[in-house]
Symmetry: D2
Subunit: 422 residues, 4 copies
């Protein structure tokens, strides 16, 4: 990749890094993506309303939150036409190149950020180089800024190539809440895809390493458990209260204590808890935002059923009512070796690649599995490509960052692989 | 009390009820009190900055919260001069009548509201009669609107009487967070008081019943416990996290499990909990706003020491750090029978009183104990007077309300008692 | 009391102290009591089978335990005729003096010991003086050895007095498990009692102090909660197990966390727990022996209902079954002031008494309340007399001991009081 | 195998099944093994004292337990000379055939039983056919009766074959407590082994299936955690107690809640808990027998360190002291493919084998890993052979049983494999 292009892409990535937006609020991000796509020129560009089944969007925030980020994007300089189109949480874009006969290929990149406060440490490059998050409390701590940049880079490279067929780049919203892919799938816009490539940077692989087919995605269910009791004066009538926070604490302890399973890995997290209103009032309500995962869908369901049971009886034990709602879900998935082999071959030709792996285990979850599952069920092939990058802090931590050299490596490998498909 | 005055006082009470304000944010309330005091006419009227030791204010909210309520009070029609005087959480007022020789007597009423959402039920009189809280999420659920009204009523009655001496009415802020009385005490403005009467409505006593000397206040300590761990991706690297929410849950369970004490009553509440940032991130921070109480200061300290130990080791068990800060505290106290006897006698002459009790146990806490303690230590006498009122819901619940007939009963009993003092 | 008699009584007490026997196993103790009663000579002496309703005996141990203690008593030198009479847990005795006209008066003393290993410390008098428990693991750690001695002493003193009427001394078994008094009541043998005195030594009152009417007995319910799950290999198939120990742990934590009550004192204890069979097997069964108490019967029932709920849902949370059985129960009770006054007066005449209290709160439980309740319901009067004694360790601890000077004080006060009744 | 031999071996297995003995108490079992070995005739037979490093025996029971089982074995008909030799927990035997030049080969079988009460159900073959456990509360619920039988059968077959070299059969005690293999290793008796085969029946593989090289043994640490507090009267002075059972419950809950690890499987079990002495006494001591496991030694250590931390702070939280002692430990291990291939080939020739697997994961722990580790470190090869058997109930459950047809299959496969080694 020539120096100019590299600098332009790095600049784009840093712009996105500076304006991280949470799931379904990627208004500024979508606007910037649109600008870049229009600069490249494509045959078709569709925004959120055209590529999302609105009712299938999971984990959508409140109207007021959406409105606040909408306004914030405007202040950051987002285009009014894009803001209008995406209003109400219809973010993301699908850019399409149509080049006559050939396979329909899709590249999926995700674009949302996380509710993490970015490090201000001098050794944290974004802080040092002046592109630390301007949206305090939010951060691109999983590299989706790099993913969007790779999407733009690959789009540009394929557009310039002799690729024949149809090529989509999906800039997908709301991956972090496992909420976006299902809405894309349900809209049907990818039903014609023969070959799907999804991409993720880092994952503990170093710069220069490519994983052609990541597998071992954990099936996941995210849920919100709510507890309802009854308030009372904590000094005068403590026993008249029914304490939702005691129910919550009992549930948290016992959720983590769900027995491990002999058939494989499981996970449990109680990521957000809150309850009560005042120090001297017996808390009448409380809630947990949590998740369970399993190496297989069966194991995820084991955890899920146990979690429901724990919540129900933690509530009843304290005379409270409870409910558990699923806010997001994704199946497990495996990459197709046949498609991964193409990526593996392309990586062998890419400057900067010094290590190739045919496969590796993720040990996490991704809603790309919805897309992979749909393509595979309809007879197509899918692979999830890992692009290594040296990252100082772990994913989802305040010092996460990417080695920008890996942008070119990822773009060239993927573009080369895509032009090899037929 | 004549009908006009009664209607005026009821109107005043309902106005305050409609605009409940939490501790240290009683800007509108103070403004309305000032208007009434000025209407009555007193020798001296001092606002927050003159009667509070700023550094001794406990449980002060953030600047932004103070600013928001300040603005809200303006919109509700508070006077600009009062708003200016009270800015930054210097709420409350001290009205003083000076009438030559005689004792220095003080009546203390408190004026703040609670973070409770008021009932909209048709059987809830404020909702039915149109003076339900306009500050959604906040409510006069402990009758401090009635207390402020009694303060105004007694001030007016004493002003019209042949009382000789000095008479203060203290409209005290921030009782609900046990945060205001200490700041008044530390300012020294009540150091000359010979006789202190504090008043509370309801307390499970019916309309027509007067308790001349409430005792048995529970000593209380309110605290904030914070837990700090380390975030990690809950799917990929769960064991790299140090989970502050697991520490919180362990602490909540074990705080409630602090052993009961053979020497008397204790209390524990974990009134507010929160932790974590996202469903799929191991929570790195969490906190509890809680309180412990004891029938004696010794028992409160027993609970307090145990609570500190529980928090410390709940944190360490999960490799987290923790701290516990005291946000408010009050001692236990007893009313002086000699002063209560005067109230008891006065109640015997009051229209509408059909039951008198020399004493009763509160079973709760009150920061009036700071004031009582100061007056008693300096050789004065203090009593805490209960004015019964039929209240449909319990104190600190969404359907709490007062029987407005009790306003006149309380005012007449207290005013009569005050004029009997010498 | 003359020196000889005092030495004889001290010797008797030390003999009992050396052979502590748990509830329903007081075979040796009963035998020794019989010997002393026969030495004194009474009109009627009835043993367990004649004074107990067998089916009403609560917390009866297994046959094998009864048999073991039966044998142990034989080895210690118990009389064969008494052993035969008491076989199967029919322990205790009722000695009766009939002296013509006059009231029917009963003195109740209890005789059982506790499963506590007695201190071997040199400062522990029984260890130093050679009458430390010979029944390792069991101990008279609540002074029932002294109670039995007082019973003998009073019997002898009344027999020698000019008392007129009927006088019973009840040597009651199984107080520590709150299991004996009900069986005596149900047998009807005390239905004719006009005046009942029960006695307890110590209770944190020093030697020389007499409490004429102890009150404030906590109502109590003792229970056994059992949990049934399913075993599984903990390494290979952990999720196939249903873990009764996890259910137990959840229950223990939440039992202690039952909310305190605004109306008065409550208690909870999980005194014995056990579960599981091997380190590498998921435990399939577990059980708790626990108790709840309340200042009133209502409060005891509050705790009891909450405890049942906690156990039920702790089990269900872990897919286990559970049950809760009541093993013992006693109501709360108050002493009659009229009868206590007689004791108070007698204490005033007793050598060695330097402090008299008309009443005091116990803050514990006692199955004497069953007896008091029956007598009071039939129109009689009852009082529970406290005989102070300096005790180095607390009741129910390994260093508990009594000051033997208090034996004479208790005997003289009680005997004097009894002879004053008419 | 001819019918007579089969019947003899089945009879032997049923005899052992009828007299299950726990770890280090296999007195009767060793006696019966000796009788069979002597019947076959070997060059050398060594009993426990000659093959065990006494100090390296882990999880040895108390003297009194050893003595009780020693006596029980005598009553069941064990030989006096064997009883004498094995006294004090020196159980097990090593039978050796020396046949000139050739490799030194060892077959290891384990012989102990579990503390599980065997099913009395009519569908449970041992109950139906009259060889249900005579040692109530103990059971061969993991097939070690079959293992010992296979050891005898293979010894006999190899003795009759043209095998050349040295052949040991190790009848190892105390596998269930992971306590025996280390003591054998430390004695050095197997230091000359070139090829080690261990065998296990069942493991969810059906009759007719052979696994040539089982792998994936979980590393394991078994521990005993003890908690020491202070007793107190639960009614009168609950706060004077320091409650070891509350500490235990907090520990159990938080042990199970140790975070799962991203690098692989872990396990936790709290297999035995007990605490306290009486319903009305605050418990002063409690203990947990538990275990942690990990897919790798590193993961086992992660669990182990977390467990220590949990126990320490669960105790401190309740003002108790604690300690954690390791009672048994075993590393993880893998079978050597080269040796497994020989078993695989032999299985192909065995009547009744209809399915062969080169490898499979155990998902449990085994102290055979100590033996495998020693042989492999000294340059030898080791494999752990699985002999499938239809088993109605799972391992370590009351209805576990083996299909006796699998005895011949296991014997013939192993004997054939051993004679193929050179």
């Amino acid at each position: 990749m020539d120096q100019d292009r590299h600098e332009r892409l790095v600049g784009f990535r840093r712009d996105l890094h500076r304006y991280p937006e949470p799931a379904w609020c990627e208004f500024y991000t979508t606007s910037r993506v649109v600008e870049e796509v229009e600069r490249i020129g494509v045959d078709r560009l569709r925004l959120g309303p055209e590529i999302l089944d609105g009712d299938a969007r999971m984990a959508l925030p409140d109207e007021s939150v959406l409105a606040e980020w909408h306004e914030r994007a405007r202040e950051a300089g987002a285009r009014e036409d894009v803001l209008d189109a995406c209003a109400g949480g219809y973010t993301g874009a699908l850019a399409t190149i149509e080049r006559g006969e050939g396979p329909t290929v899709a590249l999926r990149v995700d674009i949302d950020a996380l509710p993490i406060t970015e490090s201000e440490g001098v050794t944290h490059a974004p802080a040092d180089a002046g592109f630390r998050s301007a949206n305090e409390g939010y951060m691109h701590a999983c590299g989706h800024d790099a993913h969007a940049t790779i999407g733009i880079g690959v789009l540009e490279a394929v557009a310039e190539s002799d690729f024949s067929g149809t090529f989509h780049v999906l800039f997908q919203p709301a991956e972090e809440v496992i909420g976006g892919a299902k809405a894309v799938v349900e809209s049907g816009v990818l039903d014609d895809v023969d070959r799907l490539l999804a991409v993720h940077i880092g994952l503990d692989h170093p710069t220069g390493e490519i994983v052609a087919g990541v597998g071992g995605f954990l099936a996941v269910r995210q849920f919100e458990a709510t507890f309802s009791g009854e308030s009372a004066h904590a000094g005068g009538h403590p026993a008249q209260g029914r304490d939702a926070v005691q129910a919550l604490a009992t549930a948290v302890q016992n959720l983590h204590a769900i027995r491990r399973h002999g058939e494989g890995d499981t996970r449990i997290n109680t990521g957000v808890v809150e309850g009560g209103t005042a120090t001297n009032i017996v808390p009448e309500s409380a809630r947990i935002e949590g998740e369970v995962r399993g190496e297989t869908t069966h194991l995820k369901e084991y955890m899920s059923e146990r979690a429901d049971t724990v919540v129900e009886h933690a509530a009843k034990m304290h005379d409270c009512e409870s409910s558990v709602e699923t806010t997001a879900e994704a199946p497990s998935a495996e990459s197709d070796a046949e498609l991964a082999d193409v990526v593996y071959a392309a990586a062998g030709e890419t400057t900067g690649v010094d290590s190739r792996l045919r496969s590796a285990e993720l040990g996490g979850s991704e809603d790309a599995t919805y897309l992979m599952d749909r393509v595979q069920r309809r007879g197509g092939l899918a692979t999830f490509v890992g692009v290594g990058t040296d990252h100082p802090g772990g994913h989802h931590t305040p010092t996460f960052d990417v080695d920008e050299r890996s942008l070119a490596i990822g773009i060239e490998t993927l573009a080369d692989a895509i032009t090899r498909l037929d």
